[in-house]
């Protein structure tokens, strides 16, 4: 397994503050500059106050979302998973009521920063927001990968039965053979079994080896 690597330096990142309160921007700007970030502020009263995916660079942007806005703009989500916002979100907490905190979490906040803003809290909030966002995105990717493998289980069963029949072996030996072959092909055993089953089906239909090629799950 790859060692998880935490992001700890936020230089060359850009913070987008979504707040109608200019004082928040004035307080945050010098602190973020010290940490190496640039900052811009969007007010929801502006005509282009809504955030579009094109407004956000997932690799470098951090959203700082004011929980006291009367109406928060929707935060664009990852194309691969609509539970995760496109960029990390820090929730600015003025009123510490459960409804406000819940709303910020629903908008994807993975860290909170209390108002009035205290300089010593900003680095910690950024650290948590950015790294937790990355961790959640990785977890969702892993979940999706496991879900995909679960969907391919039926191919494993079919391939094991096929190998048992062809080789006259028991199920353990058949699975060990398929596992070994999948490792040689550098794909998951589920993907390899899908290939074996589909190749067999195509062969049955055409009477000869089909043009099916094994492609890495990557």
């Amino acid at each position: 397994m790859a060692v998880p690597r935490y992001i700890q330096n936020f230089s060359r990142r850009h913070a987008i503050l979504v707040s109608d309160d200019r004082r928040v921007g004035a307080a945050l700007s010098p602190i973020l500059t010290r940490l190496g970030l640039t900052m811009s502020q969007r007010e929801t009263t502006e005509t282009d106050g809504e955030l579009a995916p094109i407004d956000l660079d997932p690799a470098s942007d951090v959203l700082i979302l004011d929980g006291d806005l009367p109406r928060m703009p929707p935060v664009p989500r990852l194309a691969t998973n609509d539970l995760i916002p496109l960029a990390p979100v820090v929730g600015l907490v003025g009123v510490e009521a459960p409804s406000r905190l819940k709303t910020l979490m629903q908008f994807g906040a993975t860290a909170f920063l209390s108002k009035p803003i205290h300089g010593g809290s900003v680095y910690s909030a950024l650290y948590l927001a950015v790294n937790e966002h990355a961790r959640k995105a990785n977890m969702m990717d892993a979940l999706e990968a496991h879900e995909q493998r679960r969907r391919l289980r039926r191919f494993v069963i079919k391939a094991v039965l096929k190998v048992m029949k062809e080789r006259g072996c028991n199920d353990d030996a058949a699975f060990a053979y398929l596992r070994n072959q999948s490792m040689h092909a550098r794909v998951s055993v589920e993907t390899y079994c899908q290939f074996v089953v589909q190749r067999s089906a195509a062969s049955d239909e055409c009477g000869s080896d089909s043009s099916l090629k094994l492609r890495s799950a990557e």
């Binding site: 060692v3 935490y6 330096n9 010290r34 190496g36 550098r186 794909v187």
Partner: protein, 385 residues
């Protein structure tokens, strides 16, 4: 010129486990007070109130609170980061200023602190450059068990890892502990290219003595085979280590008493004449001296002791200091300082081996030096398929 008097606090532990460094800082601060008070053009008279928390963490907040209760708005003080963290909330609550004159591990920029000591880019990066160029890339880390040791080791580990090196082991001891037999055995077992020392006070002095003695018992020349590098080793501490083990240690600092300039020679002469009983002048003494000098400049320019006004008046101020030009960075309120690498001698001074060409901008969050991703040790990247 009419002078205005201002009370200031001086909060250093002049007794206890790191009392030697505290006394040299107190001397540096008092020397600056005297010079400011005697200078007809300074515009201010500083009236210091001195307190000694005796190296006891719990006493810092009480002593600082007592000073603030007296109406003092500016305190020059603290050596350890843990003591600074103890008192900062008080200064923020009362909107007073702490003038912090010590090298520290960074990752802080309080609006109520002016930092005249080194940030990690001043002391860590030059030291690692020197060690890797001269000794190798395999380190053994030993430190006092608090934020200075933890964070210094982290910065070292990340930098070394990026350069293809590694930290073989990290050991931490409570502040004041002095039994290093197990750690010294571990150093001999792991055979590093160098030892990185982030111990403070009596722990550090004991380690130097015990390690030198253990090497001599084994017929090992510690200075060349297991050099010890520190970012907090200064002249008064060399006296505490003692003559038997004092020489050959690497120190990364911005000030050594051996800096050969007319200004520093005059500074050292004045210090030695004022405090003949010691401890010797040190980087920490110079830093405390600078903190008071900058405070006096800020008070004069602001014309008030109100914290926001003094802070604004101090931004961008420069002083020709014993180490060279020192400027307060308006962005971070840390200082532009001149990094140097020294090697200790038998006469309790340092030979200066490396010196930066000009003062270096402070980078307390290492935003210009560190990679964005945490560096991890190299190991096989296995993937389950």
């Amino acid at each position: 010129m009419t002078k205005t008097s201002y009370p200031i606090g001086i909060l250093f532990s002049t007794t206890g486990s790191y009392g030697t460094v505290g006394r040299t800082m107190l001397h540096g601060a008092l020397m600056a007070c005297r010079e400011v008070n005697e200078d007809p053009g300074s515009g201010v008279i500083l009236e210091p109130t001195i307190a000694d928390p005796a190296s006891q963490l719990v006493d810092y907040a009480d002593k600082a609170k007592a000073m603030l209760d007296q109406g003092i708005r500016h305190v020059v003080g603290c050596y350890t980061s843990s003591s600074r963290k103890e008192v900062i909330p008080l200064f923020e609550k009362r909107d007073a200023l702490l003038w912090y004159p010590t090298h520290y591990e960074g990752f802080e920029s309080s609006a109520n602190v002016v930092y005249t000591g080194t940030a990690p880019n001043h002391h860590m990066a030059p030291m690692i450059d020197h060690l890797v160029s001269n000794y190798g890339r395999r380190a053994f880390c030993v430190g006092s068990n608090y934020i200075w040791g933890w964070e210094s080791n982290r910065v070292l580990r990340e930098d070394l890892t990026q350069r293809g090196g590694q930290v073989l082991s990290e050991r931490f001891l409570p502040v004041g502990d002095t039994d290093f037999s197990a750690i010294i055995e571990a150093i001999f077992e792991t055979r590093p290219d160098f030892v990185f020392n982030a111990l403070i006070g009596v722990s550090s002095y004991a380690f130097f003595r015990q390690f030198r003695a253990a090497c001599e018992e084994r017929g090992i020349d510690q200075k060349t085979r297991f050099p010890v590098a520190s970012c907090n080793l200064s002249e008064p501490e060399l006296h505490e280590i003692g003559a038997e083990a004092v020489d050959g240690h690497i120190s990364s600092s911005v000030y050594f008493a051996s800096i050969d300039t007319p200004m520093n020679r005059a500074f050292v002469e004045t210090y030695n004449a004022s405090y003949p009983e010691g401890p010797a002048v040190s980087a920490e003494a110079e830093s405390a001296y600078l903190a008071v000098r900058f405070l006096a400049l800020g008070l004069k320019k602001a014309g008030t002791e109100e914290a926001r006004a003094v802070l604004a008046a101090t931004r961008g101020q420069s002083i020709d200091a014993p180490q060279g030009r020192v400027t307060i960075d308006p962005e971070t309120m840390h200082s532009f300082l001149t990094p140097r690498i020294g090697r200790s001698r038998k006469d309790f001074q340092f030979d200066i081996l490396v010196e930066a060409a000009c003062p270096v901008r402070p980078d307390p969050y290492l935003v210009r030096a560190a990679p964005s991703l945490e560096t991890v040790s190299r190991r096989p990247q296995l993937r389950v398929i």
